[in-house]
Symmetry: C2
Subunit: 268 residues, 2 copies
Amino acid sequence: MNRNAIGMFDSGIGGLTVYQAIKEKMAGEKIIYLGDTARLPYGSKSAETIIRFSEENARFLMEKSVKIIVVACNSSSAHALPRLQELFPVPIVGVIEPGAEAAAKWAKKRIGVIGTTATIRSRAYEIAILEKKGTWEILSRDCPLFVPLVEEGWGEHRITRLVVEEYLLPLKDQGIDTLVLGCTHYPVLKNAIAQVLGPEIRLIDSALTTAERVFQMLKKRGWLHPAEGTPEDDFYVTDFPERFQKVGEIFLKKKILNVEVANLPGRT
Amino acid sequence: MNRNAIGMFDSGIGGLTVYQAIKEKMAGEKIIYLGDTARLPYGSKSAETIIRFSEENARFLMEKSVKIIVVACNSSSAHALPRLQELFPVPIVGVIEPGAEAAAKWAKKRIGVIGTTATIRSRAYEIAILEKKGTWEILSRDCPLFVPLVEEGWGEHRITRLVVEEYLLPLKDQGIDTLVLGCTHYPVLKNAIAQVLGPEIRLIDSALTTAERVFQMLKKRGWLHPAEGTPEDDFYVTDFPERFQKVGEIFLKKKILNVEVANLPGRT
């Protein structure tokens, strides 16, 4: 058993879907979450900058003695994992590889991948899926309105349903059998997406697949912490804690009480 | 007459509505446009950072010998004008003051102000309007989905119409007689907004009011350049020229051919 906390970071708030999935899978674990809200979005930044920011975020978590670091951010997962694995002695888990693995496991013929414009441009999921050596065809599309719709709290809104149709019916028409939700915000839209696509298309929720991966890694090492009471989690952001609390409630369906402002080690 | 160009900058692409309005009003003027796409959005940054970025943008334009600088960005207009006016010998025009002046001129009782979350939080329009010493009531609301809808090219989309209703019918119900479009992206949605609000509510388009202000300032100084042929404008961005070209077409309804990457003086 390892009583240390699970550390996780994201460029902002989307990582809360991964937080939630870990919480549901491993109720006994304490989580320390860092959202780098002062410097988001990462997607539009260069690889070097993303690596530097990720390093600073991970260092902040390491100082809190975490036993594993979950990189709950697509841009960091695409660019910074090798560097973080080189620098820090704890296991590092990103969101892309578990999603890609699940897609490769379930897909028959055609895989759809959706994400922010930056993620789709990076082709990170496509590359990770194709490394699994299948013969799938991969259809990608960016859905720039999904993140603002989620952050507006419109996950169940009739307008959101229309936007989902607009973006995803063409993928359905092209015969995808599997859809990777390649953005940590998108699990909030899972109901709306499932209603539009119907039961035949399997949705790969990278929050769930990442939580499963974390569970397996801790289990293998004998580091799981059995549920005994409800550990209090710590939330840190680099800017605007009030906004994080407000939008966080949309993700967690409850108030986040203790949000502190983090002074990242690399900053002056 | 002054043959030098009009310089303008924005954190990104929204300033193109101001560009377009200046172009329609003063066909003889050459414009040099700088979009700081590498560092957008400005709205979530501190005042000091916005001032520093604005200074660098203005310095870049000054090196091209512009005769006036148009700050086509709400965040820069709210924070950086005094500093720019102190530093540079040419007239500096922001987008907020002309919009506030027009609102104060036309409003009877209740003024609505819409903008991004950052602009509404800053209360910049509210403050500028109240300085005009009227007895209006001001109702503000942020419309976070408008910018992504515009950038998606959905200005005329049925979904956009529904989002406009969702955001603006409450303001209409509260009896506003004037609505300030307090974001440089919003003129792209003017038709949709006018259809929802009807002819009784006057829309203040800050792109048009800013162009009018520029015209008056150049005229007063005898610096207007009469239309003779079509001067070729220069566009600079600090990142992703392809995206600027693609989304720029939504704003200008034509291709922007010559977009160059700017090396800002303040950068290494």
